[in-house]
Amino acid sequence: MLFQLTDRPIEPLISSLHPHTGAIVTFEGRVRAVNDDREVSSLEYVAYPELALHEGHAIVSEALERFDIIGACAIHRTGHLVINDIAVWIMSAAVHRKEAFEATEYIINTIKARVPIWKKEHYSDGETTWVRCDHCANPHDHSKQSKASLKRKRYATR
C-alpha cells in the first residue's frame, strides 16, 4: 500500500513493511513538546479520508516516477497524539542513497502541501488552535525562507 491513514499507533505497521533492497531512507515526523515558544501537550490530526488517500497515493506514485527508487510508502496518523508519537512515517528504497533521500524529502514536502490533513495543537494552558503553515502550500519556499519567517501562523475561526 503506497499511502495509508491510521488511527492506531504507527510503530507496529513499520515492522511489517518489507525493505526492498539497497539504501533505505526513512523519515519520522514526531510530536514535539514546543511550537512557537508554546508548550504543546498533545496534537489532534483530522483527515478528509477520501481525498487524503487519493492525494497520498498520487504523491507516492509521483515519487516513484520522478526518482530512481525501487519502492516507497507513507503512513499518516489521525486522532489524538501525545508528545513523541509518530505522526507521519515515510520510506524510500533505492540502489543509491541520493535518490532515496530526494524521494523521501519530496514525499514529506508534498504531503504537507497537498494532503487534506489538519492539526489542532493542545497547549498545557488548556488552549487549542488549528495550525496553519502558509509556506507549506509551496514546499519549495521552505528552503528559501529564513527560520524566523517559517513560524507558523495561528488563526481563529470566528
Binding site: 504531503i111 487534506p116 492539526k119 488549528w130 507558523r152
Partner: protein
C-alpha cells in the same frame, strides 16, 4: 436552484458548527458558493486560503456545480 451536500473539516467545522449540511443554492460555481457561505458564517478565510474539492477530488474554483455534488472547502492543510 441546485441541491448540494457540503462537508466541513477542522477550522471550518468549528466556524459553522456543522460537520455537514445539505443546502439549496443559486450559486453556479464553487467560488460563488464559497462567497455565499462566507456571508452566512462570517468565517475568516478568503478565497486564496481555500482549496475546493468536489466529489472527493480537488477542482478549480470556477468549476460548475451539479445537482447532488459533495463540496468541501479545504482550509490550509497542516499534515506532517
Amino acid at each position: 436552484m441546485t441541491i448540494l451536500h457540503i462537508t466541513y473539516f477542522a477550522a471550518l467545522r468549528d466556524a459553522t458548527g456543522y460537520s455537514e449540511e445539505t443546502l439549496t443554492t443559486e450559486a453556479v460555481t464553487a467560488k460563488t458558493l464559497f462567497y455565499e457561505l462566507t456571508e452566512k458564517y462570517h468565517w475568516r478565510f478568503t478565497e486564496t486560503d481555500i482549496r475546493i474539492a468536489i466529489n472527493d477530488r480537488y477542482r478549480p474554483p470556477d468549476t460548475p456545480l451539479k445537482e447532488g455534488d459533495r463540496v468541501v472547502f479545504i482550509p490550509p492543510v497542516a499534515g506532517g
